[in-house]
Amino acid sequence: MTQPLLEVRGLTKSFGGVAALSDGQFTLMPGSVHALCGGNGAGKSTFLKIVMGIEQRDNGTVNVMGKAAVFSRPSDALTAGISIIEQELSPVPAMSVAENIYLGREPVGRFGRVDFRKMNRDAQALLDDLHFRISARSLMMDLTVAELQLVEIAKALSYNAEIIIMDEPTSALGEAQADELFAAIARLKAQGKGIIYVTHRLSEIFGIADRYTVFRDGRFVQSGAMADVSRERLIEMIVGRPLTEEFAKTNTPTDETVMTVTGLNSAGFVRDVSFDLRRGEILAFYGLMGSGRSEIFERLFGLLPDEGGEITLMGKRVSLAAPKQAIDAGLAFVTEDRKGSGLNLMADVRDNICMARLEDLSRAGLMSRKREASAARQMIEAFGIKTPTDRLDVSGLSGGNQQKVVLGKWFLTRPHILLLDEPTRGVDVGAKREIYRVMSEFAQGGGAVIMISSETDEVLGMADRVIVLRDGRISGEVGRSELSAAALLNLAA
């Protein structure tokens, strides 16, 4: 039997007396893609941080290529042949792509001068090898988020590491770019490298991984070959209880139209978008990144200026020129970027929940602490937000619970129409299900939902109707009965 690239046994780690990891086990074989699965708080990030040398373990063994390894800093792990593509990007915006890739290890010529020609050439070769269509000379600040992610990937691969950790590498990528990444992963695998792949997107795991390891509550649960496990079984292991149905869909659309949009333009490239939304319906906007999905939401919510088009809500013409107007008209907008525009990470759970409805919680400009506290309590209960107190900083919550805080904030405004932009991004399977349940119940209770999702499964599972967008225009509409992944992709690309 070949020697494993990485073998971890009995790894433990506590933070301030709380065990984050109590039995971490993992075996990575050469030439394999190994999915590390688990919900938020399962111990995945702690495990990765120890393997990368960011945190020190309390106990346990880590063997890299048969040798016991102790990493006291990230560069130790890098030297040992472990590199990582991180979820959070860390570009130096004013530097070129090549400079970013070779940051801190620039090729040096005579007199200690940086050899820019070699650096640009090497970087371009690396990008071309990966089929990433990015110029090594362009500045990081001129790239899109997806391109930044690709550069990050190229950088991680440039270390020629034997073990590559990928933490949610596709979270900012469109389908086509994700496919490029998957092709690159296949080539790495063929070269005998080992890849640890972390994602909440199960379909990706089933697409590219050979093996899986599941962590739950800081413990190793099981590992095995992907071929031997079903999607349902994997979800059960991650969540720790049998799931009846992944997509809890209970709503049925009515014939009553609540919103009509005609000829809407936005953001300079979204043109002539028209659609109806019915009470009780979950409508999905599907399209690649840059197809104009989010820009439609931003226009409807008054975040982008009026560039023409009519919006009618419950039969009344509205302008929706500012977020306040949209909120008063009964719209709520869960944005794509939870940390960037959803939450105030400096504030606590209560202040975040109350943020969009301060008028109702105050009289003559004075806040009522009692009403704020009771509003927060109500939402914490309604969404099952796991927090010891509503005075805890929201930054201390898991991704799923943070998203529930955002939902709580919006439900407090008693909306009629929910705009959900990637509502389950970075959220674990258990919390995803609850978000689906909330959507369904909201629609069934007389509301209407428009959702944007890059996850085809989610769209197929939840939507009553899908409007597909391409380059800022509607390229087609698919009803629930004709819904299929092929139909969507065909219209989107």
């Binding site: 301030g16 007396g17 309390d58 919510f301 975040l303 500012a322 977020p323 306040k324 949209a326 909120i327 907008f333 944005t335 970027d337 960037g340 525009s341 959803g342 939450l343 105030n344 990470l345 400096m346 504030a347 202040d351 109350c354 943020m355 969009a356 301060l358 008028e359 105050s362 400009g365 004075l366 806040m367 602490r369 900083d393 904030k409």
Partner: protein, 330 residues
């Protein structure tokens, strides 16, 4: 690994207390130390002296707190102190050379004009920062220069002397035995505390500073909030300018130079984050008092004033280091 859970709990508690009351503890320790080494420190006269010295900086620092909470900075307050001082003083002087036509006016008119001058300067800062996206540092640096220039133009570079007794009252009078500068500082503090902790506008300030994007999506008019905080800072600079003029008996065109630095120092020492969204006006109060107590203590011990600046500098940096350390723990 040898520490027990109980040890750790005590340590955590100590850290938490240190976080919450660190600056207050520092202030108390300095006070205790000074009262031991110098018997004069705890006398009523000296305490009033310390508070009076803290009051003008304290009033400015409270305005600065609002601005810094929204991720801004107001470098112009020192110049606005001088501008509001000379303009309002010129309406309350009996000196024929420095007065505007019709002076001296009733003190409340001069007073209102001083506040309005400050608000106008703040309004211009606010419009530029909030609606024209000029960085606050640049905008208020420009106002620092422009307001000083206007002060010199308006006064011809000469002090405005011979203020009416009514006007001088806000600097030298007593309210129920409390000197007016201290009473005004206390009033401003109570109002600011109330606004930041209990008003809807206060919630808007924290949200707009904590995450302007999220605040905007949540229906908060972030631009308006950002404009208003500069108007508040300007108005308080106007008030401070008049208190200063009233105390000294004449408004000096070179008054208030570098006052913005002490105001920012008080805010930062008080634990308000320069990156916005986090901080309290009680911290600012303690920060202003700490600066004043340290200056006073060094005076009492006969330390040369040049050293005082060095020590103040170290104090500011130490306070921010403490702040960084506490963020790492949290």
């Amino acid at each position: 690994m040898n520490t027990t859970a109980a040890d750790r709990d005590i340590k955590t508690m100590a850290v938490q207390y240190g976080q919450k009351y660190g600056i207050l503890i520092a202030l108390l320790l300095v006070c205790v130390a000074l009262s031991v080494v110098n018997e004069f420190f705890l006398t009523q006269r000296n305490i009033i002296n310390v508070l009076r010295q803290a009051s003008i900086n304290g009033i400015l620092a409270i305005g600065m707190t609002f601005v810094i909470l929204t991720r801004g900075i107001d470098l112009s307050v020192g110049s606005v102190v001088a501008l509001a001082g000379v303009v309002s003083a010129s309406m309350a002087t009996t000196s024929s050379t420095a007065a505007v036509a019709g002076a001296p006016y009733a003190f409340y008119i001069a007073f209102a004009v001083g506040i309005l001058v400050g608000m106008a300067a703040g309004w211009i800062n606010g419009i530029l920062v909030a609606y024209f996206n000029v960085p606050a540092f640049v905008t208020t640096l420009g106002m620092l220069s422009a307001a000083r220039g206007l002060t010199l133009l308006y006064s011809g570079g000469r002090p405005v002397p011979s203020l009416t007794p009514e006007y001088r009252f806000i600097g030298t009078g007593d309210l129920f035995g409390v000197p007016m500068p201290i009473a005004l500082f206390a009033l401003v503090f109570v109002l600011a505390y109330f606004v930041l902790s209990s008003s809807r506008f206060g919630r808007h300030v924290y949200a707009a500073g904590g995450n302007p994007h999220a605040a905007r999506v949540s229906g908060i008019n972030v631009k308006r909030v950002r404009m208003v905080v500069y108007v508040i800072s300007g108005a308080l600079a106007g008030l401070a300018g008049m208190v200063l003029a009233a105390r000294t008996g004449s408004a000096l065109p070179q008054a208030g130079v570098a006052y913005e630095l002490d105001a920012i120092a008080a805010v930062v020492i008080g634990g308000t984050s320069l990156s916005g969204g986090v901080g309290r006006v009680t911290g600012t109060l303690i920060g202003a008092l700490l600066i004043s107590v340290v200056n006073n203590g060094l005076d009492l011990m006969g330390v040369e004033s040049y050293y005082q600046q060095v020590i103040k500098g170290m104090l500011i940096v130490a306070a921010v280091m403490l702040d960084q350390a506490r963020h790492k723990h949290a």
